[in-house]
């Protein structure tokens, strides 16, 4: 297993994790679990509720893509073993 394989594995796992966290975050914000919308509004200074479906779509797209890209890298590492 070369250095490229190990790097692909690490980046793949991190990227997939980022994607999974992004999707979880999108759901938490969309359903306003733990009153997170107010916290996000305070942090970013923008009204989240107004364009929620758009943010939800964007974060979900980002999350799904991140997972797919990460899985491709993990697959490369598994093939190289």
């Amino acid at each position: 297993m070369g250095a490229r394989g190990i790097l692909a594995a690490i980046v793949g796992i991190v990227q997939s994790t980022i994607g999974a966290l992004a999707i979880a975050f999108a759901y938490i914000v969309n359903y306003d679990l733990f009153n997170i919308q107010i916290t996000v509004q305070n942090m970013l200074g923008i009204s989240v509720e107004e364009h929620m479906p758009l943010y939800f779509l964007l974060i979900l797209t980002f999350g799904f893509f991140s997972i797919i890209s990460g899985f491709l890298l993990i697959h490369e590492w598994m093939e190289s073993r």
């Binding site: 490229r4 991190v14 479906p53 779509l57 893509f65 797919i68 890209s69 890298l73 490369e76």
Partner: protein, 484 residues
Amino acid sequence: MRKPETKRELGLFYAIMIALNGAVGIEVFVLLNYAIYLAGPGVVLALLLCGIINILTMLSFCELGAAIPEVGGDYTYAKVAFGGIIAFLIGWLRWLSSTFGATLAAIGFAYMLSYFLPVSIPLTAVAVVIFFTLISVRGIKEADAITVLIALATLSAFVLFGLRQGIKLGAFQPLTQRGLPGIFAATVYTFSMFIGGRAVVAAASRIKEPGKNVPRAILFSAVVIMILYFSVAYVTIGVTPQENLGDPGFPFLTNAAKIFMGDVGGALLAIAGMFAAICSLTTSMMVQSAIIRGLSRDGYFPEFLLIRHKRFGTPYVAIIINSAFLVLFAATGVIEFIGYVAGFAALLGFALINITLIKLRREKPSPFLKRPFKTPLYPFVPILGIIMSLALLVFIERSASLLMFEFIVLALLVYYLRMAGYNRLRVAVGGINLGFVGFIALFLYLTETELVPLVISPLILYALIFVLLVFTLAGILNLITKVR
């Protein structure tokens, strides 16, 4: 046409039972409540509209099921008519429809249980999915006629007791008090209550004289559930006080049962709902697993989904992966959202089935494809089915539309993966990764130079820089993939 591998052993009675088993599920017990909130007394019109659209498309199912009585139902018809992307999309929508049907059943079971015990809806729904996943891995049989008859008998008793109690016709005045948009929204929302009759086409390879029995079973079940659901809604509205109609969380059905059958009535309805939920869940899980394996056999999904358990002989990998999706959706515990998404998948799938019928009539006319049953008033009936199905999609809740849009994009991506090949996909993904990097870098530049009035805390800034680095590396690694 290839000869069926399975033995044709089921007569008309069992064909009808299979159709009713698919049609009489948990949906009526849980979806009707919110539909009444959406449409008020107009829910009876919404259910009538659902029934009409359902029959229009069921006529297409009758023709296709009688002409091509093979395993796979909708997906098989689309493969014969189109192949390629349309067939894959129909298979994908059928899988989604089963996934959301199973999710609805798990959440519905939790709601019915909450009639007796103070349980957490999302946790109970997840526990139900995990429990039935374990049972499915060991192997389960299809729900039998008894479960269907229990649900049918309970709903029929509900209607008869309600009619004996006396319906207040004033409760229906004015019928369109929530307006036409409310009625159309309720139509989309409740549509998944009606579609289960198509279960019989999936089992067509086991039915004797499919040319006669498949259309009879489909049409009989479609008419029965249309009358039954209309009557249930009619009785429920007829005994519910007007002031409760505006409450989105009001349990209209169990409350109506309590009014004219006492506490026992409410409990009976909840128990029948739990039976129906188990029946819907097991059926949907089996359909889900069969579709995903069919798509794997055709090379759209990885082959490991076809692996069977050494001891139990069940496709456990497909079952477990499907259940992971179910857990994800069941954890929301939100009936309304799942109801809309299930309706969306069903309506889009129905539009595509009508298109399939038209395509097959044009390209494989009768001498080439034997049609024991023909859709009457062709092409008006399938065209009307397409128009009505697609027009209703406008009234779906926004977040549900967005989720379905995501799933369709994902379907196109999966299809592209199969068509384009692995290396081209890696290059495309690498390019998109670097595109994200460019976007994040531009966003950081604009906020740091205050050209965009957005407050970015140091924590978010560092997190974005970390994401930027990961995506840069991922982009480069995907782009310089080794050609094999």
